[in-house]
Symmetry: D4
Subunit: 256 residues, 8 copies
C-alpha cells in the first residue's frame, strides 16, 4: 500500500470527508498484506540493493528475454544464471542497452545505466571474497560465484587449480586466502577442498560441490555429502553447482 494513499485516506477522515467507519472498512478491505509487505520489500531492496534473478535452466531464449525485459523496468540489476551464449542474441534484441555476458560463468547481466556493458566497476566494491577451486573443470562454477559476488559489490580473488591432491599449491596461497573476508570453496569429486580450506582460515567458508566427476561421484552427491560432513568449523554448503547462490551469500556476509 502506497503511503500516500494511506495519508490521503486519513486526511479525508480528518477533513470529515470520510467517516471513521467508512475508513475502517476501506482499510479492512485493502489487501492486508500490501501494507506490510510493500514496506518489507522496499526495506529489503533499500538495504540489500539486490536485484532480480532469473534461473535460466529450462527457459527458452525468448522467455529469458521477456522476463529480463520486464524486470529491467523496475530493477537496476537483473541477472540470468546458467544461460548459454546462444541466449545473448534474443536478450539483446529485447534489451539493447546495459547487457553483459560472462561466458565462463554463464551469467547474462543487465545493469541500468551500464551502456553496452555491465562490468562492475572495482571502485564500488567493499570487502573481498576468495573463490578457491579445485580443478579446471570446476572453474565455470567458481566463476559463476566470483562474478556474482562482484555484481553485488564485493571484490573476488580467484584461486584456481589448488586441489588437495597437490596441497602445496593451496598452502602457497594460504596467506593470501586468509586475508579475505569470506571464502568460497568450489570442488567436485571428493570435495575435500572445503575441509582443508576450512582448517586454514578463520572466516566463513561457503562450500560449493560441483557435478565434476563420474561413477561414484553421482553427479556431485559425493562432494555434497563430504562437504556437509566437513570436520572443519565455519563451513556451510549450498546446492551442487550453485555458484550463484554462493556468490550471493558471500556478498551478504562480506557487506554485513
Amino acid at each position: 500500500m502506497d503511503p500516500k494513499i494511506l495519508s490521503n485516506l486519513l486526511k479525508d477522515v480528518a477533513d470529515g470527508k470520510l467517516t471513521p467507519d467508512a475508513a475502517a472498512e476501506r482499510l479492512k478491505t485493502l489487501p492486508y498484506d500490501d501494507l506490510g509487505f510493500a514496506k518489507l520489500d522496499t526495506h529489503r531492496a533499500l538495504r540489500t540493493g539486490r536485484g532480480e534473478v532469473v534461473f535460466g535452466i529450462g527457459k527458452t531464449p525468448g522467455q529469458v528475454a521477456a522476463i529480463m525485459k520486464r524486470l529491467s523496468e523496475s530493477a537496476s540489476l537483473v541477472i540470468a544464471t546458467k544461460v548459454g551464449a546462444e541466449y545473448c542474441e534474443a536478450v539483446r534484441a529485447a534489451l539493447p542497452e546495459g547487457l553483459a555476458y560472462y561466458e565462463t560463468a554463464k551469467l547474462l547481466v543487465y545493469q541500468s545505466g551500464a551502456g553496452g556493458t555491465a562490468q562492475p566497476s572495482p571502485k564500488e566494491q567493499k570487502g573481498t571474497v576468495a573463490v578457491v577451486c579445485a580443478g579446471t573443470a570446476d572453474i565455470p562454477i567458481a566463476e559463476e560465484a566470483a562474478v556474482t559476488a562482484e555484481l553485488y559489490g564485493v571484490a573476488a580473488e580467484r584461486y584456481r587449480d589448488v586441489g588437495v591432491a597437490g596441497i602445496h599449491r593451496l598452502l602457497d596461497k594460504a596467506d593470501d586466502i586468509r586475508k579475505a573476508d569470506a571464502v568460497i570453496a568450489v570442488a567436485g569429486m571428493e570435495g575435500a577442498l572445503a575441509s582443508v580450506v576450512g582448517g586454514l582460515v578463520g572466516v566463513p567458508v561457503i562450500a560449493v560441490p560441483t557435478s565434476v566427476g563420474y561413477g561414484a561421484s553421482m553427479g556431485g552427491l559425493a562432494a555434497l555429502l563430504a562437504m556437509l560432513n566437513s570436520c572443519s568449523l565455519g563451513v556451510s554448503v549450498v546446492n551442487i553447482d550453485n555458484g550463484f547462490g554462493a556468490g550471493y551469500l558471500a556478498s551478504l556476509i562480506v557487506k554485513g
Copy 2:
C-alpha cells in the same frame, strides 16, 4: 489487530485528537500481520473445528502431559499421536477429565466435556471413510487413521486383512467399500493394495505406506514408492506410518 482499536484510532482522527500523519505512523508501526492473521486463525478454527495435535515421538510423558494440559485450555479436542500406554498416567494426572486412550491406534485424546471418555458419539458423524488394510501388522496404523477420522466426525468402516495376495477377500468387500465417501488404504511390504483399491472405487483413495516388512522394504520405502507410482487414478499418498494424517485428510474430504 483488534477492529475496535482501528475504529477508535480512526475516530480520534475524525475528532481531531490525532493528526492524519500521527495516525499513519501508528498504523505503520502496528504489527501488520496481526490484523490479517488473527482473523485468519479464527476463520480456520470456525470453519474446520479442528483441534490441536501433539506429535508424541521424542517427547516424554511429562512433556506430552504439559502440552496437552495447556492446549486443553483453549481447544475442545486435543490429540496426541504415537504415544504408548505408558504416557496415560502422566497425562491423566494433569488432565483428569475428558481423556481416552486408544491402545492399538496409540492415540491419547482429550475432549472437553467428555467426562471420563473421549469416545466420539456415532450420531455426530457425517459421511463414511473405508479404512482398508492389508495385513494384521498394518492394523495399528489403520486404527490410527480410523479413530482420527471418527474424532473429526466421520464414520470409519474397517476392512482388515484384505491384502492382495488373496484378492477374493478384498473383492468380497468391494461393494461395501464402494459405498464409502473416501478410502484409506493402509499397506506395507509392496503396497499393492492402494492400486487395487484405487481400481475398484470411484472416490478419493488416501494411501498410507507402513513400515511393515523387512529387507528390501527399507522401512516402508518400497510401499511408499509403489503407492506414488500407482497406475490407478484418484490415489494420493501420505508419509510412511502416517495414519493420523490420512484420517485427518479423509475427514476434510468427506465433510467437504
Copy 3:
C-alpha cells in the same frame, strides 16, 4: 454379464426349456467375473463420468492416435497426457472432430460432440480447485492439473509464481485461495509451498512435486520427500510431475 442374458436363462429354467443342472452348469462356466465387473464398470462410469486416459510418454504419435481413435468409440472423453505438439497431426488425422490440444499442459483431448474444440464450457463446472504453483518453471505441470480438473467439471483458479521465497505474494492471495474447495500445490526445488499453503487453508491440499531444479533436487526427489513430510495437516502427495493425477483427484474431492 448382461442382466438380460441372466433373465433369459432363468426364464428358460422356469419354462422347462433348461434343466436346473444345465443352468447351473452354464452359470458356472460363464466367466464369473463378468457379472460383477461389468456391473462394477458401469457403476463407476455412471457415477464418475470419467473418460479414458492415455499416458503419452514412450508412445509414438501413431500409437497415441490409434489408441485415442479406439477409445473414442466408446468414451465421450479421452485424454492423452504428456504429449508434445508434434502428436497433434497424427491424432487429428485419425480423429478429425472433437480434438483440442493444450500446449502448456501437453494434454491432447477428445470430447465427443465437441466439434473442433474440447474446451470445457464453464457453466458445467461445479466447485473450484485452486492451482497454486511456485515458479514459472512449474507452470506446465500446474496447467496439466488445472486443465484436467476443468475437463472433469471443476473450475480451476490459477495462482502462479507465488513461491515461498517472497511469501507476501502468496499471502496476498490467501483469502482467495481459501475460498476453493481443494488446493493443488505445485512446486519443485524444496517443495515448501505445500506446507505453507497447507497451513493457510482448511481444505484438502494435493501436493505435486515437480522435477524443476538441479543438483540435490535429484529430479524432484527433494520436493517429493519434503511434501511427504509436510508439517501441515491435510496434505497428500502424488508422483513427481503428475499434474494429471492431481487434477483428477481434485475433481473427485470437489465433486464429492
Copy 4:
C-alpha cells in the same frame, strides 16, 4: 578334454607306446580344468539344449554380427538381446541363413537349419508359461520374455493390458492363467501385478519390473522393490527390463 583323447592316451600306455611317466606328465600338463569342465559343458549343453546369448546393449551392429557368426559355428541357437532393427542388416550380411528378427522383443535369433526364419515350430514346445503384462508400454519386455521361452521350447500365452487398476480384466483371465506351468508377470510403475497374480495362481511366478513410469518410479526401482516385497508366495524377481532372463528361467522351470 575330449574323452576320446583320454582313451587314446591310455591305450597308448597299455600298448607300451607311452610310458606311464610320460602319460602322467601329459595328463598333468593338460589344463586340469578342461577335463572337468569340458564334461560339464557338454553335460549342460546336452541336458538343457541352451544356445549362446549375446547381450546387445553397447555393442555395434558389426560387433554383434561378428560374435553371432562365430557362435553360430558351434551352436544351433544364438540369441542377441536388446538389439534394434538397425542391427539386422549387418548380421544378415554375416549370417545370411537362419536369422529371424523379433521387432517388439528386440531379439535377433539364429537357428541352424532354420532357413530364412527362426520362428520356433509349436509342435516342439512342451509346457506353457503365461506371460502377463500390466500395460501396453510393458509389452516389449513381455514379448522379449515370451519369445525367449518359445525359443527354448515352451509355449507362451500372452495376457496383455491386465494391470491391477482394472482388476476385472485380470480376473477374467485368471482361470486361463492358472493352467500355465509358470507365470511371468511384467509390470512397471508400482509393480503390483506380481503380487496380485501371485495370489491367484499356484505355480512359480517370475516377476519382471520394467522401467515404465516417471518421477518416483526411478527407472523401475519402485517396481523392483515392490516385487521383492511381494506379500504373495512363490514370487521371485529378475532385473529391471530383463525379459530374456525371465523367459529363460521360465523354460528351465517348465521343462524341469
Copy 5:
C-alpha cells in the same frame, strides 16, 4: 457360493417356487465373488496342498499362538517364520500337539497328526533342492529355506561354507549340486555365490541375499543388487533374508 445353494435355487425356479426375476435378483445380490473365489480357494488348496503361514516379526508370542491356533483348525500345516525360541512356550500352551521348533531356521511348525513333532518324514519327499550358502553367518537363512522346502515335500541337500573366496570348496561339490532339481543360493556381503552357482548348474537358481555384512553391505542391499545383476542365466531373486520364500518357491518348482 456353495454349488448346492445354486442348484437348490435353480430347482426352485424349475419348480415354480421362485420366479425368474426373483431368482435373478437373488443371484445379483449374492456376493458375486463368492462363487468364483470359493472355488478358486478350494482349487488352490487342493492342488498345492499349501498350508498357512504366519510372519512372526512384530508379533508377540501370544499373537502368534492365537493365530496358529485358529489356523490349525482348518489347515494341516501351519508355519510361523522368524520366531525366536521364546515363542515356543506360548504356542505350545495353545497348541500342545503337533508342534516342532527349528531353532536355527527360527521356524515354528504345526502339523496335524504329527503328535509331538512336525519333522517331515523323508519318504514323502519328491525331488531335491540344493541349498548352498556362502558363510556360517548365512546358515540361519539357508536353514529357513531348507526346512521350508522339506515341509512342503522336497528333499533339501545342504552345502555350507562354500563361499567364492575359496572356490574349490564349491567346485568340489559341483557335481552333487548339479544333481538337484533346483538350487537355492544364500549369501550376504557381495552375493557372488549366486552367479558362480548359476554358471555351474542347468536348473533354476533362487538367490537369497542376506543381511550378513557391515558398512557398504547396507543391510543386504549390496548382495541384493549383485544377485539381480547376475551374469549367469537362470537366476532369480527373493527379498533379503527371505529364506522361507525361497524354500516355498523351490518346492513349487521341484514338485511341478
Copy 6:
C-alpha cells in the same frame, strides 16, 4: 617454531657462534611446518579467539573428561558437544572449576576464570543472531546453536515454534527477526522454514536440518535436501542436527 629460537639461532650466526652452513642445516632439519603453522595457529587463535571443541558422540565420560582437562590447560574455552547430563560428574571430577552444563543444548563448557559457571556475560556480546526453530522437537538443536553463538560472543534471540504450518506465528516475528545480523533456521520434517525465513530477511541464513520426523524424513535427509534446494537466496546448510556448527558459523559471520 618459536620466534625466539629463530632469533637466537640467527644471533649465533651473527656472533660467529654458528657457521652459516650449520645454521642452514639446522633450519632445514627443523620441521619446516613448525615455523609457518605455529604462526598460523597463533594467528588464528588471536584473531578468532576460538576455543577447542570436543565432539561427544562415541566417547565415554572418562574420555571426555580427560580430553577437556588436557585442552583446558592451553585454552580458555573448551566446549564438548552432544554430551548427556551423565557426563557432568566425570568431567567435574577432572575440572572442578569453570564448568557449565547446558542441558537442552547438551553442551558441556569449560571457561577459564569462570568459577562455577561458564554462563557467558551478555555485555561481551556483539551483534545478534536470530535462532528460529520450527517445532518443539527441534529446540535442542536450536539451543545448541544459540548457546554456541553466545559462547563465541554473539547475542542469540530465540524464536521457537514458528513452523510454516501456522505461518502467522512466524510473520508476527518477522520484523524482529529482520533486525538480526544473521539467522539460524532449525527445522526437521520438510525443512520449509529455511526457505520462508530466507524470503523474509536480507541477512545470511544458516539452515540446520534436524532428524525430527519419521518415515520418509529418513533421519533428516528430507529436510537436508529441501534446504539445499531452497528457492530463497542467502541460504546455506550445515549437517543434520549440527547446531554447534551453525552457531559457530553465525558467530564468524556476525563478528566479521
Copy 7:
C-alpha cells in the same frame, strides 16, 4: 589328486593290471577339482603364510571359541576380528595357550607357540606401513589395521589425530609418512584425509572410511564416496570400518 596316485594308476595300465577303459573311468570319476585345488591351497598357504580369519560380528563367544579352536589345529595364526573383550573368557577356555587380545583393535589372536601372548616380535617384520587416522574416534579402526599388518609381518607406524581440519599436524609428519612402503588412511566424516595423504606420498594408499560421524555421514557412506572419488592418484578403498582388510592388503603390498 596326489601325483603318486596318478602314477600308480598309469603303471597299472602299463602293467596290464588295469584296462585303459577302466582307467579312463577312474580318472573321470575322481573329483576333478581335487588335483588342482589341493595344490592351489598348498601353494597359497606356502607363499603367503596367511592364517585363517574369523569375522566376529553376529557370532557368540562360544561360536568364536569353537571356530578358533578348530582352526588352530591346522593354522599357526588365527585372527578373530571385531570381537569385544567379553569374548576372551570363552576363547581362552577353549584355547588356553597362544592367545592375545588387542582391546582397541578388537582383535583376538591365536599364534601357535606364542605362549601366553601373540604380540608379534618386531624383528620378524619387513617393511613399514604408515597408519594415518583423522580423529580419535577413528583410532579403533586404525588400530585394527595396524595390528593386522604387524601380525602379518609388517611394521606399522601410527599417526593419529592428523585430520585435515588442522592440516599442519599432518604436514609435520609428512616426511615420516613418506618413508613408509604403503599408507593406510583411516577417516570418517568427509574422508578428506585419503586425498590429502594421497597427494603427499608416492606409495599405494589404502583408504578406510569409518562410520564416525552423524546425520549426512550416513554411517560412513559420505566418507566412502569421497574416498572413491579421490582426486589423488594411487588411492584405493576398502569397506567402511574394514581395518582388518586394509591391514591385510597392506601386508600383501609391502611384503610383495
Copy 8:
C-alpha cells in the same frame, strides 16, 4: 625456497650485512611453504617418475591440446584419459611429435623422445600385472588399466571374457594369473569377478567396477558395492570405470 637463497641469507648474517632481526623478518615473510614443498615435489617426481595426467571428460579437444602442450614442456610423459578419437587431430596439431592414441583404452599419450609413437618398449617393464575382465563390454576399461600400467613400466597380461558365469574359463587361467605381482579385476553387472579372483591369488587385487549393465546395476553401483563387500582378502576398490586409477595403483604396487 631455494637452498642457495637460504645459504646466502645466512652468509649475509655471518658477514654482518644483515642483522639477525632483519634476517628473522625475512625468513618469516618468505612463503613458508615454498621451502618444504618445492623439495617435496622434486622428491616425489624423482622417486616415482610419474608424469602428469589430464582427465578428458568435459574438456574440449582444444582444451586438452592446450593442457597437454603446456605439460609436455616440463614432463616426459603426459596422459589424457577418457578422450575419444576425435581429440587426436587437435592434440597432434599442438604436439606433432611423441603422441600415441590407444583407441580401446581412450588414452592419448605424449612421451618425449617417442617420435611418432608412445608405445612403451617392453624391455623397460618390471613386474607384471594381470588384467582380468569379465565380459567383452568391460574391455575398454580393462584396456585403460592395462595400457596405463604399461606406460608406468609394468607388463600387463590381459585375460578377457573370464566372467564367473562360466567359471572354468577363469580357472583355466588361474595358474597364469597367479604368477602376476598384482591383479586388476574389471567387471560390471554383479562384479563377482573380484571376489572369485581374490580367492584364487595371493597378491593384491585392485577391483574396478564398470558401468556395464542396466536396470538395477545403477550405472555400476551394484558392482561397486559388491566389490567393497568382497569376502575375499586382499581386495580394494577404485571408482566405477576408473581403469586409469587401477593401472596407476598397480604400477605403484608392482614397482614397489
